[in-house]
Symmetry: C2
Subunit: 211 residues, 2 copies
DNA sequence: CCTACCGATCGGTAGG
DNA sequence: CCTACCGATCGGTAGG
């Protein structure tokens, strides 16, 4: 019980540290310290540092697998515009719930592009295909612009969410000041996300019911 | 002369290796091996590994500074649509000319978000402001959609190019199969870029002269 | 899950 | 720009 709890703790801390400093920049010692155990104890739960990395990645992708059904439900409900909103909300929500996910994914794609390709083929591809199929149906119906490349569009939107939420919590990464409405201030990240959603919507639909 | 050549070689190889494996994943020894010199000789040209990192980053940003004038010229020429094409071409060209640039920037933004913010404020912000100002002028003229958030739009497009060109040369990273037109095959990256440009254009302009 | 320990490699220095 | 070398830390193992 305590052992299982420590295993979970190792995964949690490893995820956090690797997301922040990268895999090579994170030592087993620093993970052990964060958990409050000794370094060899980390290797009792995971046979090697590489195995720990794998476990961290698989946990992330398994969380994604939990989201997919909701995503597909959203996909098959209502008509085009509402689908769009539901899917975008799920996508952004997934990375917002834990920004480490976005950072970790970006790092893994940079560090091990070949290994990641097979993983993403397994976990992201099926969902992308479903959405793309719906987009093509929308194109036949005239709601979705004919010029849209469905798969490329999906990937572009996913990447946009990824980058937006991976970058420093405070700002949309590069730099976005705040914009004031009387007493309310809107963060750079929210500004970025709002513009991304707007651009995604306008680039997708032929009609303009968007604001 | 040979010393200067070696210094350049160190910068070149360090850029390549850090882009591929990250800063922490790149040892001074591996850089020395790539250049064909001994490890301490690297530290003769650069006082520390951190200083080498800095030099690599500054070289990248100075290349960016060379591109900016062309970008601004493109910005002040012709009318809205042509401006758009010229700026997009410069932006994509900058990262296409050397994909390590995109990977390196993404890594630095992940590794040192705070330090990067000040750098990007200095190097990217002025250019972003000019483009944003033009977008607002376009909004007053009715060419650019009123709902566009100029700064956020620019950032979104920059990030899109960054991710598109950072990911494995062969594919648009996650996964994009090829699409055939008789004998011609279009790579996943080109598909991604084409869709990104289309989406950027449509999300920007109120009229649709785009295909 | 710990203590004790391993060889390898890390960034960096001395001295020429 | 090299040889020779430094202490620190790396991932990982032995043995309990």
């Amino acid at each position: 019980m305590n052992a299982l709890d420590n295993r979970t703790q190792i995964l949690t801390q490893a995820t956090r540290l690797i997301a922040a400093r990268g895999f090579e920049g994170t030592s087993l010692q620093s993970i052990a310290d964060a958990v409050g155990i000794r370094k060899p104890s980390v290797l009792y739960h995971f046979p090697s540092k590489a195995a720990l990395r794998q476990a961290v990645l698989e946990q992330l992708l398994s969380h994604w697998s939990e989201v997919v059904p909701r995503l597909l439900m959203a996909t098959s409900a209502e008509d085009g515009m509402d689908r769009f909103d539901a899917i975008m909300a799920e996508l952004i929500g997934f990375f917002s719930r834990d920004p480490d996910r976005a950072r970790l994914l970006l790092r893994e794609m940079l560090d091990r592009p070949d290994d990641m390709r097979s993983y993403l083929t397994k976990f992201v591809r099926p969902w992308m295909d479903v959405v793309a199929r719906n987009l093509r149906a929308g194109q036949r119906g005239g709601l979705v612009r004919a010029a849209v490349d469905p798969e490329a569009w999906v990937l572009y939107v996913v990447h946009g969410s990824l980058v937006a939420l991976a970058m420093a919590d405070g700002a949309g990464c590069v730099l976005e000041p705040v914009e004031r409405d009387e007493q309310d201030a809107i963060t750079g990240r929210d500004r970025y996300l709002a513009e991304m959603v707007r651009a995604a919507r306008v680039s997708l639909f032929d009609e303009r019911r968007t604001v």
